[in-house]
Subunit: 427 residues, 2 copies
Amino acid sequence: MIEKRTPLPVGEAVKRVMDYSITSQKEYVSIEMTNNRFLAEDLVATHDVPSFDRSPYDGYAIRSVDTTGGSSSNPITLQVVGEIGAGFVFNGTVEQGQVVRIMTGAQIPNGCDAVVMLEVVRELGNGNIELKRTIKKGDNISYQGEDTKKGTVLVEKGTRINPGIVALLATFGYSQVPVAVKPKIGVIATGTELLDVDQDLEPGRIRNSNTHMIMAQIDRAGGEPIYFGKLADDFDTCFGAISEILSKVDVLITTGGVSVGDYDYMPAILKKLGSDILFNKVAMRPGSVTTVATLGQEKIIYGLSGNPSACYVGFELFVRPVLQRAMYSKKPHHSKTKAILAVDFPKPNPFMRLVRSKLSNEGSRIHVAPSGLDKSGVVSSLSGADCLMLLPGGTRGYEKGMEIDVLLLEDQQGSEWPWNNIVPSYK
Amino acid sequence: MIEKRTPLPVGEAVKRVMDYSITSQKEYVSIEMTNNRFLAEDLVATHDVPSFDRSPYDGYAIRSVDTTGGSSSNPITLQVVGEIGAGFVFNGTVEQGQVVRIMTGAQIPNGCDAVVMLEVVRELGNGNIELKRTIKKGDNISYQGEDTKKGTVLVEKGTRINPGIVALLATFGYSQVPVAVKPKIGVIATGTELLDVDQDLEPGRIRNSNTHMIMAQIDRAGGEPIYFGKLADDFDTCFGAISEILSKVDVLITTGGVSVGDYDYMPAILKKLGSDILFNKVAMRPGSVTTVATLGQEKIIYGLSGNPSACYVGFELFVRPVLQRAMYSKKPHHSKTKAILAVDFPKPNPFMRLVRSKLSNEGSRIHVAPSGLDKSGVVSSLSGADCLMLLPGGTRGYEKGMEIDVLLLEDQQGSEWPWNNIVPSYK
């Protein structure tokens, strides 16, 4: 058991985790099931858009040359020789003096080089129309490829699929879509004090909330949580269970038992497993006891704090980017932005502090305030949090109106590396 | 068929839809399945938090009176009479001169009124500890109810469940959680030109992308999409199918066929169904032909444009808030905020224009730019969109640096009514 631990700066801890990587496989799923999945290949335009010259309006396809000299004093009469609904094509070629009635989206017939809208012609009732203007070649034609050329990469591999991307997948014929297999993340809780959610409270005990919270965080991050239950604070039981679970998953998250208390067996278990400890103390609040270890080439074990807020923050900082990158994301970290502190935050920050917070906008300016009391035991502050304030270590307190850094918890844009321009957290 | 239509201002159109409501039923689902669902009842604290006086640290529970006069020159010796791990309780009462070793989270034993941290005592090795300071009553005790009182409403009915809320549900014993039944939304596409996603392109035809996109939008909005297929442009076929589908769903979305072209049967079908048309033209671009009709007390029929961008915008403006409110949301509309235009947008806006756009932050200031060309046929602009710019009708064009309104597509905060302070869109 390690009694004296040296805290690692947060940015350094994130970097150590990210230096070690797991990778998802690719699988094909039906387009209906792809919202929120991650593309495992670039989405490429498989044809031009439009794929043929088409009409953007309901109107008449014409030969522009036939309208030469047309004006209100010199109306041109043209003969309607056909009608094309969207999805149909006109067979043959339109000859001099002829037009074809055409619907929005339909293909321009051979021989025609412009479209006139319905509103600018007069239907003469005898199969002819009258036009009182001269039309230029190309008027009202959407040309093949003018929107998108075949072969263009429209969305990069590793992008999370949203409804607009689903539209592109459908347009280009991706009925089966290559997506990253959801990383399977094992979750266990340790702690004799923990009751199941459906159990009544007992003296001295609390219900297990962390694993349910983490499973929802895994879901939000795009992974697949697998719950392996709740272990008592007993070394042999924990060791046996963890060894077995590690043969089934690539990532295991445990909560609790990582501190230096008499019942905190995780350090000893990690040692007996022969794992490499990346770190076991981070210069941050909450979550300083967060432990991350690796086993062989592709297994990561997270020992998150049993404290709910510390557990939450530990997941978002150290687990989420690993999952995102496993699914090929090029921006696996939470988006970072600046925000104006909406209230005083007088507490000094000996370590980097991550405060569960809520954004609000005033005009085009982003404001932020803690979503609850900043006590790490206060589970209620998590429910309204949509960001984490980052208050660098070694700072004395912040005043309303100061500009600070925040990590956005629900934004999908992500960032490549959020830490480079934050004041070092621990000196 | 209605040939001459009067465009309704966007805000008025939204209001007409929202004056008509559908309501979800309540169902109970296991806590593991609740992320992103909507609470059908308030989440209430079913007990105090903490539910007992507990220790926030590993240390010794003491009687503060025993430490009176303790200092470095007057060390106090106390007898360790027990040890409590988290989840266990100390039976009996701690008497004068006695202490109990206590772990983080464990219940304070009877007789004790303070905790001293491990670091400040010296273990004498004979079952005694030595303390060189005077401890005040209440030091290092987390008192019952100091975080949350039993009966407090922690999260309101209608809130979308996130990982923090899952933690609260677990803490308070909600193993089965009351959530809103996902509204079932039927989706059909009309248009002979449409190919299925897995079909090869043919001259004059395009693949059906709209229904796949809408199903993903329904999923994002928290509803359950049901795809009823693709109908040809034929009145009798469409009418028969739509009549039958309406007996199975509360909301039906059709795409295409709502314009005034020769093959646009939706207006006639809505008339024959005996539905009430709320509007069939909106003063907006894209999506001016958006049609919404109601049938009886609780059925809404949306005729969205066949144009992908118009279809997308029509869903987010007119369908999403109906779904959100059906699931009890008190803020069913997209959050609205201001943003700084990052590029010139010189186009005049005869009608309110909704531009698919992408946010970026500079410092704490929100910036926005179109996510693609603003041509309503350009499907590729949808993939990067995370907001819609709102450019009021009757405006001449906007310059870089101007502050404009945007609707956030992926934000979960929502808003009650986003239109009150936007310039009227149509004059």
